[in-house]
């Protein structure tokens, strides 16, 4: 095959990220040539602030050094800006006369810092803050001079000021507006920031406008419009960036503020793509790394001729990278008649939080002093979640209840490097920060893969996101809606579920073929998910794929750390009989089961069963009338009950009978994640129904129905769904709720995060407001139950074909 030729103009983060993504998709499609104006490989521009502050060296912030280009067969032209593009001959001409022909061209020319046209602006000692050369100049100045003036009180200006101050200079910040970082902060947060920075020794002149730079052979001072003169040996202009469109415009590509591109990142010349800070997409330009990487992914997808990805624009969040300052901002936080402000201000603790809502959805957020929930707000902002049910506790964030296993709590910026962040895997803050900068990590997934932090129970996720954002200066987690199911596909859970129904896909290979999976038979993440989605979509039709089940569901028992299994028979509503207990005791002795334990769900667990004994154990338990408890499955687990009105002097309804009836209806159902029910006989709630997925609490006049509770890693009390009068209604709402969860939640998403994602109002709309819809859901649940209520233990005992699962292939003994 003759390779096509790809020329990339611009050797920065966006362009090279697109090349990396392209190489991953189609390594042999192109001969690639890259032109860069700077004399270095690709470095991490957001690390220029730590470099200025002396926390990093150039070598620390290199993303792709020159050997990377060589290893990937990329021809690299360094320090050689492109002079023009001959679009008819499809040829790029560099300033030194080098020519490079292309089939596809990628423009990643980035942006230029704005240089104010002040008198004296061309004096030595006046710099911008954009690249390594600027940092070198500032570091040199800091070594021999004392006074610095930074013009511009935005993100970049403050980071420059912080870095220069760390290098021992006296720094004055001149800002045109009366609020620092006015694009990211409201006046209150801006004021708090100013106060903190002043305490650290920075001086501010604001609002103030610079009139002239003064000096003869080198800058000596600046003069403001009001006549004030400020001595300055170094002037840093950090008043903003402007898309670099000179080249594109000179060759006739259509530009407005930036180079205009469509959703495929294509310019008006279809052979020429563009991305990064230089482009304008749907009227917006972007200057943060997160959207640029999203653009790179889409661009690579089209260059690789896969051609289905679209860039739809990005919501942005910002984090200031000045050591010890905790500040987060996202979205649009301007107030109007149509918006509501929810505000908390605690001056003594230095904490300010403001969340702006429009139609009960988060439109913007500003956090100062405590940003641990920044990523959480940002997720809701991008997902457009209806947060009306969360309003009263919105400002307390996602973690006000008893989360377990996350070190310390509070803002991550205040933690020292030895603080344990991830209690499951024993990962400290310092380890995470080190991995992010040394291994060039940009996403939560990267951090999970390299450090294991947040990869187990997930309770420390917000802390890890916060550390990531502080280290990188912004949030780069992709919105839940567009997050791919796994690395085998670009499609999200919702895309896949919808396509399965629309295209009538009825097997795992059919889904993988139609949706163009990148792997021949998926992976451990997507196969169980697809198996569940198909099972849910086509009850009675889809043939369960055993090899796509996690071992616990394949063996109908829970694997333990030593490779043995645990067995839990069902005890309806937590009730048992002497005969059942006797049978359990006999089984435990007969098979020398080392441990017998009462579970949290009112059942009995037999632990340490050898795999080859499982069929015999089941047979004996079956013979005593017991069936599988599905304690191993993403399925209905227990229905916990209290004794209720039959015995209890407080009980107002027969909660035990209600629990048994619910369990008889629901057992055997497969669900996105495990599901636990409980029924309490009075509001004393001894069955702890308000931390269950579906909890029923008896009251004198009927039953309260509660949903979305969770007692695990992240304690979440239920939301009250409604109150009903009769047991029949309890059954109907329960079945309908479980079916809605089965049809809408993502695989491995429990009811609590599902409800937080879609919002309680959505669930209420489907189950309360729409009675006909509720009955249809209930009918679909009962229909699917017709195919799922066969005891897997009894099936195993009768089907010889399954025996292979439990017997060794061969036994070899010593000679």
């Amino acid at each position: 095959m003759i390779r096509k030729r790809l020329v990339v103009i611009g050797n920065g983060m966006a362009g090279i990220r697109a090349v990396e993504d392209l190489l991953a998709l189609a390594p042999d499609l192109y001969d690639i040539e890259v032109f860069g104006a700077e004399p270095y490989g690709n470095y991490n521009r957001i690390m220029l602030s730590p470099m200025l502050a002396g926390e990093k060296q150039l070598a620390d912030i290199m993303l792709n050094d020159e050997s990377w280009y060589a290893e990937n067969g990329i021809k690299l032209h360094l320090g050689n800006p492109v002079a023009t593009i001959d679009r008819r001959r499809r040829c790029v001409v560099a300033e030194d006369g080098t020519e490079a022909f292309y089939d596809r061209l990628l423009l990643a020319t980035g942006s230029n810092p704005i240089m104010l046209p002040l008198p004296g602006a061309d004096l030595p000692g006046v710099v911008t803050f954009r690249d390594v050369r600027d940092v070198d100049r500032m570091v040199a100045a800091a070594g021999s001079f004392k006074n610095a003036v930074v013009i511009g009180g935005g993100l970049l200006g403050l980071e420059a000021a912080g870095g220069l101050q760390k290098r021992g200079m006296q720094v004055t910040v001149v800002h045109l507006m009366d609020t620092l970082m006015e694009r990211q902060l409201d006046p209150v947060a801006g004021g708090m920031l100013r106060h903190t920075l002043e305490e650290r020794g920075l001086t501010f002149k604001m609002p103030a406008e610079t009139a002239a730079v003064l000096g003869t052979s080198r800058v000596e001072a600046i003069r403001l419009k009001d006549g004030t003169e400020i001595p300055a040996d170094l002037v840093v202009m950090a008043v903003g960036i402007r898309p670099n469109i000179d080249l594109a415009r000179s060759v006739g590509l259509y530009c407005e503020r930036g180079i205009v591109v469509n959703d495929a990142m294509q310019t008006y010349d279809p052979r020429i793509y563009a991305l990064g800070e230089g482009v304008q997409h749907r009227g917006k330009t972007y200057g943060l790394v997160a959207p640029l990487f999203e653009q790179a992914k889409v661009c690579a997808n089209h260059l690789a001729m896969v051609g289905h990805a679209r860039y739809l624009g990005s919501a942005l969040s910002t984090q200031l990278k000045v050591t010890g300052i905790d500040l987060f901002s996202a979205g649009d936080f301007s107030s109007s008649d149509a918006t509501d402000d929810i505000v908390m201000q605690d001056a003594a603790r230095g904490i300010y939080k403001r969340v702006v809502l429009r139609d009960n959805r988060i439109q913007g957020a500003v956090l100062y002093g405590d940003t641990v929930d920044g990523a959480w707000y940002f997720r809701h902002l991008r997902a457009g979640t209806d947060v009306s049910a969360l309003r009263e506790r919105l400002l307390f964030g996602s973690s006000q209840l008893g989360d377990s296993g996350r070190g310390g709590g509070g803002p991550a910026a205040a933690m020292d490097d030895r603080t344990e962040i991830c209690g499951c895997n024993g990962v400290c803050k310092g380890t995470i920060v080190k991995a992010i900068s040394e291994k060039k990590l940009f996403t939560l997934e990267d951090v999970r893969a390299h450090t294991k932090a947040s990869s187990s129970c997930g309770s420390c996720t917000s802390l890890v996101e916060q550390i990531l954002a502080q280290t990188l200066g912004g949030d780069y987690s992709v919105a839940e809606k567009v997050r791919p199911l796994c690395k085998c596909t670009d499609y999200s859970h919702d895309d896949i579920r919808r396509t399965i129904l629309e295209q009538q896909l009825k097997s795992i290979p059919a889904v993988m073929r139609f949706m163009e999976w990148r792997t021949p038979d998926g992976c451990h993440t997507c196969r169980p998910a697809l198996n569940y989605y198909l099972l849910c979509a086509w009850p009675g039709e889809f043939v369960d794929d055993k090899q796509s089940r996690f071992i616990n569901e394949r063996a109908h028992a829970n694997i333990q750390k030593d490779g043995t299994y645990s067995v839990i028979p069902r005890m309806w509503g937590g009730t048992t009989t002497p005969a059942e207990l006797r049978a359990i005791a006999d089984v435990a002795e007969k098979y020398a089961i080392p441990s017998v334990k009462v579970t949290g769900g009112q059942r009995i667990d037999l632990l340490g069963v050898k795999k080859e004994n499982l069929p015999a154990v089941w047979r004996d338990l079956n013979a005593a009338g017991m069936v599988s408890g599905h304690a191993y499955g993403k399925a209905l687990r227990t229905v916990k009950t209290c004794v209720g009105s039959e015995w209890c002097r407080f009980g107002v309804q027969d909660s035990t009978a209600m629990g048994i009836a619910l369990e008889k209806m629901c057992w055997g159902t497969w669900t996105p994640h495990k599901v636990k029910l409980a029924v309490s006989g009075c509001p004393r709630n001894c069955a702890e129904a308000t931390i269950k997925d579906f909890g029923v609490v008896a009251v004198d006049s009927g039953w309260e129905l509660h949903v979305g509770g969770n007692g695990g890693v992240k304690v979440r009390a239920t939301d009250l769904l409604t109150k009903v009068r009769t047991p029949e209604e309890v059954m109907e709402y329960c079945g309908a709720f479980l079916q809605l969860y089965r049809e809408e939640a993502h695989y491995l998403e429990r009811t609590a995060p599902w409800i937080e994602r879609v919002g309680l109002p959505h669930v209420k709309k489907r189950l309360i407001d729409d009675a006909a819809g509720r009955q249809e859901l209930y009918a679909r649940f009962l229909h699917s139950q017709r195919f799922s209520q066969s005891d897997p233990w009894a099936e195993h005992a009768t089907k010889e074909v399954e025996a292979a699962e439990f017997k060794p292939l061969a036994e070899l003994v010593e000679a």
């Binding site: 090899q547 071992i551 616990n552 063996a555 750390k561 060794p808 292939l809 070899l812 003994v813 000679a815």
Partner: protein, 110 residues
């Protein structure tokens, strides 16, 4: 006894499945890929000793059921960024019969 030892037939293992060969010194996991290739590895994940034979097989890899480490069936290496390696055994398939090669004094067939 050592050398090449017949342990069963290819049809005894489901596609994308695995079976165990029991040895006094520890189990060997024998895997079958979707395209009917057979691999044999010690049945101990390099991470915490989980039984790889109980994992999900995908492509030329298996995912350990205990903590989701992914191990290459071909060379026994953990997939980056995890690091570790598990012993592998040569496998030959002839007329549907699977043989694995065991070193000296390891075992004999019953």
């Amino acid at each position: 006894m050592n050398g090449w030892i017949a342990i069963g037939r290819i049809d005894d293992i489901a596609p994308l499945g695995a079976r165990v060969v029991r040895l006094p010194g520890g189990d060997i996991a024998v895997f079958r890929t979707a395209d009917d290739r057979i691999f044999a590895l010690a049945d101990r994940c390099p991470h915490k000793g989980g039984p790889l034979s109980q994992g999900i097989v995908h492509g030329d890899r298996v995912t350990c059921p205990l903590h989701n480490w992914v191990v290459e069936l071909g060379d026994g290496q953990a997939v980056a960024p995890d690091q570790g390696c598990v012993a592998r055994y040569p496998v030959a398939v002839e007329d549907g019969v699977i043989r694995i090669f065991l070193g000296a004094s390891e075992a004999a067939l019953t």
